[in-house]
């Protein structure tokens, strides 16, 4: 089960079989946050359960606050982060929905809370399986959003999120997402870094204007009307813009320390591709398999994975898709805008100056509906038909895997 290897740069890395939730809980153990306030909700429950095990075993110094709802969980996190300590929580779907009010308050109070969100479909009808309707719903809340493809990324992203959130040019909360059950409950091999190396990487927390600095009293959350509210929102916009560079820098530093470099986006066999799928989360892994298979048949296809959805890496996406002729954007949530899902709309807006490209949208995987090799191959076939003008675009928004 455990296979230790020693790397000169990273120190000892241990290959461990972990579920996504266990991987994130392991990252949290190594981060050793001062306060964690959380409420159980499927499929996040086993994440916090594992972390509570670590706390019970005395492996962390964390004060775990057991609350009566997610609204209280995020409220406790706001209090704790404002007090000036490293604070984390985790949730899913309706739990995130119940936090809603305080999710915005955490961001606008500029509190660097880190929250893994195990993606699950929002009710109703009630469903516990994966889609992105929960986190996509709060894409405009001024939280940084990092989507993970697998357990390793969920673990790595959680560690990086601490440094990103706490960076002086950012000071925004960060959501690290992992697909419910698909990542959270599947066992994968995860490289776990040395505790000391992780501790060194995230560094000591230096809070910004902490409430408990009694020599410098501050007020958090005062009334802020038409004379200053707008200026505070303008500051948040700036922080979100600043965070792009910080996320890139920390992704590079992470690579130097642990061996895997992270960027805002990831391109896969995209250099000379005619057709490209844009996707985020675990489906990127399946799509890479399809790209390999189709490349084997001589087809010029590629993949663009969006790792960071907020801030939206517009210029990087424009660059990455420079030579592409047809783009299929896969959305694991339906925005009900009647003109396509949230990722599709952002991609279309980013490419609005391109008149030589066709962009279509595929809504897929709602409520945990499986998406496989055959589904993604079919999407690539359609993109190819669009490029060869064999298939006219009758509807820009289509649905993969739904029964007619």
């Amino acid at each position: 089960m455990e296979d230790a290897k020693v790397n000169n740069k990273t120190g000892q890395t241990t290959l461990v079989a972990l579920t996504g939730n266990e991987a994130v809980a392991t990252a949290m153990r190594q981060i050793n946050p001062d306060v964690v306030a959380a409420y159980p909700i499927t499929p996040q429950t086993s994440l916090m359960q594992k972390f509570a095990d670590f706390a019970a075993a005395g492996l962390v110094d964390t004060e775990i606050i057991l609350v009566e709802s997610e609204h209280s969980a995020m409220s406790a996190c706001v209090g704790s982060a404002a007090a000036g300590v490293r604070t984390m929580t985790a949730t899913s779907a309706n739990g995130l929905a119940l936090m809603w009010e305080i999710v915005y308050i955490a961001a606008s109070s500029r509190l660097p809370i880190v929250m893994p969100v195990v993606n699950r479909a929002l009710s109703g009808p009630i469903n516990i399986h994966c889609d992105h309707s929960d986190t996509m719903g709060c894409r405009d809340s001024s939280w940084i959003q990092i989507y993970s493809e697998n357990s390793q990324e969920a673990y790595d992203n959680t560690i990086q999120a601490i440094r990103i959130a706490e960076h002086a040019n950012v000071l925004l909360p960060v959501m690290v997402t992992l697909d419910g059950f698909i990542i959270s409950h599947s066992i994968e091999s995860v490289h776990v870094y040395e505790d000391a190396k992780v501790k060194e990487f995230i560094g000591e927390y230096k809070p910004h204007n902490p409430l408990l600095d009694l020599n410098n009293p501050v007020t958090f959350g005062p009334l802020d009307l038409y004379d200053y509210y707008f200026e505070h929102k303008r500051q948040q916009s700036e922080a979100m813009k600043n965070s792009k560079r910080v996320i890139e820098d920390i992704g590079r530093l992470f690579g130097q320390t642990f061996g895997t470099v992270y960027d805002l986006i990831e391109t896969y066999r995209l250099e000379d591709a005619d057709e490209c799928i844009v996707v985020l989360g675990s489906t990127a892994g399946t799509a890479k398999e399809v790209v390999d298979a189709l490349r084997g048949q001589g087809r010029k296809v590629g993949l663009l994975k969006i790792r960071v959805f907020r801030p939206f890496p517009e210029t990087e996406i424009i660059d990455a898709l420079r030579g592409v002729k047809v783009v299929g954007v896969l959305d694991r949530s339906e925005g009900f805008s009647a003109v396509g899902g949230p990722v599709y709309q952002e991609i279309r807006a980013a490419l609005c100056a391109r008149h030589d490209i066709s962009i279509v949208n595929y809504i897929y995987g709602l409520g945990g509906r499986d998406i496989g090799i055959a589904d993604i191959t079919k999407v690539f076939d359609e993109l190819s038909a669009i490029r060869k003008a064999e298939k006219p675009i009758t509807s820009r928004v289509d649905y993969v895997g739904v029964r007619e």
């Binding site: 606008s108 500029r110 509190l111 204007n209 958090f220 802020d224 200053y228 200026e231 500051q235």
Partner: protein, 99 residues
């Protein structure tokens, strides 16, 4: 907020709506909220101080048991003083605030 205070730009203020100086509520002039202002007529006033007792903002200055003045920086113009002033006296009237 006094009307003459220069409002600061987004780069000049603490982030997150934080207030970094303690005890600054007294700098906030709630008098700017008024649409009607109470006007005191000293010739009618019997110094019963009912207005002083009822003013929710402690905006009435009293010295030696006598009404002295309104503190218009604090007075929000609620009109309680005019209402409580005895009918036979009517030493306080509410007048429309004019710029």
């Amino acid at each position: 907020m006094s009307e003459t205070e220069q409002l600061k730009g987004w780069k000049e203020i603490p982030i997150g709506g934080l207030i970094l100086a303690p005890g600054n509520a007294r700098e906030y002039k709630t008098g700017g909220w008024r649409t009607f202002k109470p006007v005191h007529h000293m010739d009618k006033c019997i110094h019963c101080l009912q207005c002083w007792m009822h003013c929710p903002d402690s905006a009435i200055k009293v010295e030696g048991g006598k009404f002295i003045a309104f503190n218009y920086d604090a007075c929000k113009g609620c009109g309680i003083c005019a209402k409580i002033c005895p009918k036979k006296v009517q030493a306080i009237t509410m007048e429309k605030e004019e710029k």
